[in-house]
């Protein structure tokens, strides 16, 4: 059932999210085309993680991360999978645990240290919560270290400016889309330039993330 109307001039801006650089929060406008493009990138990451037909990915994120998280959600369908969502907060950690169990998620992406603290509040051992999951993808270094220390196969999701880079478990680098983005470095900081058109352009945008680029499409965090 359609409730809306088609406008002669639909809004150029799909939405205003944000890019966080250190302590700075930068409002970031993206277009529908940007979101579609990032969805294609996310689908490629999912294939690397082993998500496919009939699977389910649980995306753990915040609404303020929409310009990064919505492509992760939409990309599930591109590889034949379903998605579900939970908030990346201490209070909502119960939802991550519950949905992993109820929906038999194959991949959980976006688990951060807040979620792990929330699980600890609930006296839930991550080894039990994620025991049936093929791969957990952490959203920060602390969570990745804690999960890895617990013996859980853990990758990494990095919000790199307005795009995402993803590392699969046991792989020392993170993949980004070198067809659409150029990443270089300046004194150890990763700089981002859009190759494909973007509503908000990046020209050697300082990401605040320290790392190196051993080859196009791969980056290693410091």
């Amino acid at each position: 059932m359609t409730f809306a109307r088609e406008f002669e001039a639909p809004p150029q801006v799909w939405g205003v999210g944000r890019v966080v650089v250190g302590d700075d929060v930068i409002p970031w406008a993206v277009s529908e085309i940007d979101i579609e493009d990032e969805t294609e990138i996310a689908a490629s990451h999912y294939r690397s993680l082993g998500l496919g037909d009939g699977d389910l990915v649980l995306v753990v994120a915040l609404l303020s991360q929409a310009i990064h998280a919505v492509p992760l959600e939409q990309a599930a369908g591109r590889v034949g999978a379903l998605y579900s969502s939970a908030d990346a907060t201490r209070f909502d950690a119960f939802r991550t645990a519950s949905l992993v169990r109820q929906l038999e998620a194959r991949i959980v992406i976006g688990v951060d240290s807040e979620v792990l603290t929330g699980l600890a509040d609930l006296e839930r051992d991550p080894r039990d919560v994620f025991s049936t999951v093929h791969a957990v993808v952490a959203a920060d270094a602390d969570a990745q270290a804690r999960l890895t220390d617990a013996g859980i196969a853990t990758g990494r999701w990095l919000r790199l400016g307005p795009t995402s880079a993803v590392g699969i478990p046991d792989q020392p680098w993170l993949a980004y889309d070198a067809q659409r983005w150029h990443v270089d470095e300046d004194r150890g900081e990763l700089l981002l330039t859009n190759v494909a058109d973007r509503l908000t352009p990046c020209d050697r945008f300082r990401t605040g993330i320290r790392g190196t680029v051993p080859e196009p499409g791969r980056l290693v965090l410091a």
Binding site: F3, A4, F7, V13, G15, V59, I67, G77, L82, S98
Partner: protein, 440 residues
């Protein structure tokens, strides 16, 4: 299409449809489509109807529907879920692994989980919801910015809906940690609509504004309206928000088949009868109550073919009227009164959380954060757990006495009050509400 920004209704052909046409549309959708569809595909509906000895062939009129179709409720869904190891409780009508469903069946969202495990809610397709009508009614127009302040687990329907009226979503978390950005984005991007505001968020906004020296009338000056949802709002919280210059539009759940929201008349929340058939029944029986009388809301979807609810007893106590509203809409309106399972009876006196809300909220230190402790419906004492931010000048004993006095004055029963630091209650969120009734 160019939509005249001056028009009052977003879809006047639907919103102001004559009642006879509303009912004809309902009959066509329900009897001609949802009934046979659900019986054929929903395990729970088929099991329930088979037990009652009926099939879709027995339901040829709305009288048949009201007289013969058995009810379902949350317990029936949970029971089916447990007996069949089916996370969807027998409601799912589409096979997510069916190739023809690819691109239609896309995601699984979940209920808030305020009272237990969040219930998976299958979602099909994408696109705006019927909330386009509410967002337009707030006064938001094409080209405007719109503050989308919610969570992720409700899915993309809201931001798709914001774009559905030609506006641009601005994403902010419904979290204490993001209130500073809410201020900043409001001041820099000047949104005209805001979805949603809640009791806990009001508290966090006030505290952050005091801490940061922010003038909330400045922050809120661009908004035409804000939708308040999650739980009831007390009179004190309402006054505070109105002092910021915000016009509040109260939204209430419509028996898990949709939502109902106030219009600018603020005289009940509109339930869209082209999307749901709502009955208001005797809470202890099956008979309908008269227009405007208190009853239990029983819902039937007219649009959800993924996991349709038919005659779902919500346990929500409401008043309903089908009288046309002053705004020109012809669809019914609903006033939420409380939850059937929330009633506690002490010394023969029935008490619902709403009966004591204003009393607790009148004590500044509590911010209206409280729970009724209700092991059983009947109790010897009215027991409350009340949150506090600071003990106030007289310390905790004095605070406890003030709460007891206020509640006693409101309901005629002196409560037993357990004071706890407010984070103890807020941690029981989701962030937009807390469980107002608890067993222990």
């Amino acid at each position: 299409m160019t939509l005249d920004p001056a028009r009052r209704l977003f879809s006047p052909e639907i919103e102001a449809m004559p009642r006879a046409e509303i009912e004809a549309l309902r009959d066509e959708k329900l009897l001609g489509d949802l009934v046979p569809w659900s019986y054929k595909r929903s395990g729970l509906i088929r099991e329930t109807w088979d037990a009652a000895g009926i099939t879709p062939a027995d339901i040829t009129s709305m009288d048949d529907y009201r007289e013969k179709v058995p009810f379902i409720d949350k317990d029936a869904i949970r029971s089916y879920r447990d007996r069949h190891s089916d996370p969807y409780g027998g409601l799912l009508c589409l096979d997510p692994n069916d190739a023809s469903m690819k691109g239609i069946f896309s995601a699984i969202f979940s209920t808030s989980g305020t009272t237990g495990d969040p219930t998976p809610a299958p979602y099909a397709g994408r696109g705006p919801s019927m909330l386009v009508r509410e967002f337009w009614e707030l006064g938001c127009r094409p080209g405007d910015n719109f503050l989308h302040c919610l969570f992720t687990f409700r899915g993309p329907g809201i931001h798709d809906t914001i774009r559905g009226i030609g506006a641009t979503p601005v994403f902010v978390d419904h979290q204490p940690a993001d209130v500073e950005q809410l201020f900043r984005f409001s001041l820099e991007l000047r949104p005209t609509g805001w979805y949603t505001l809640s009791g806990p968020l009001i508290m966090m906004i006030e505290e952050a504004a005091t801490r940061l020296g922010v003038d909330l009338t400045d922050v809120c000056s661009s908004y035409e309206g804000v939708i308040f949802a999650g739980e009831p709002i007390g009179p004190r919280a309402r006054r505070r928000v109105e002092d910021w210059g915000l016009e509040l539009f109260i939204q209430t759940s419509l028996g898990d088949v949709g939502a109902a929201t106030e219009c600018q008349e603020h005289d009940g929340s509109h339930m869209w009868e082209d999307t749901a058939y709502i009955e208001c029944l005797d809470p202890e029986g099956t008979a309908g109550v008269a227009d405007g009388e208190r009853g239990e809301l029983v819902s039937t979807t007219l649009v959800d073919k993924v996991a349709p609810l038919l005659r779902y007893r919500s346990e929500d106590l409401v008043r309903v009227t089908r009288e046309a509203c002053g705004c020109g809409r012809t669809h019914g309106r609903v006033w939420p009164l409380g939850r059937k399972g929330d009633e506690v009876v002490v010394e023969g006196v029935s008490v619902l959380p709403g009966d004591i809300w204003g009393a607790v909220e009148s004590i500044d230190e509590t911010n209206g954060l409280f729970q009724v402790i209700r092991p059983e419906r009947e109790a010897d004492r009215l027991r409350l757990r009340v949150g506090y931010a600071t003990a106030g000048t007289g310390g905790l004993p004095a605070l406890r006495a003030r709460v007891e006095d206020a509640v006693e004055e409101a309901v005629g029963l002196r409560p037993e009050v357990d004071l706890v630091e407010r984070d103890v209650l807020l941690r029981q969120g989701p962030p937009h509400k807390i469980p107002r009734v608890t067993k222990a």
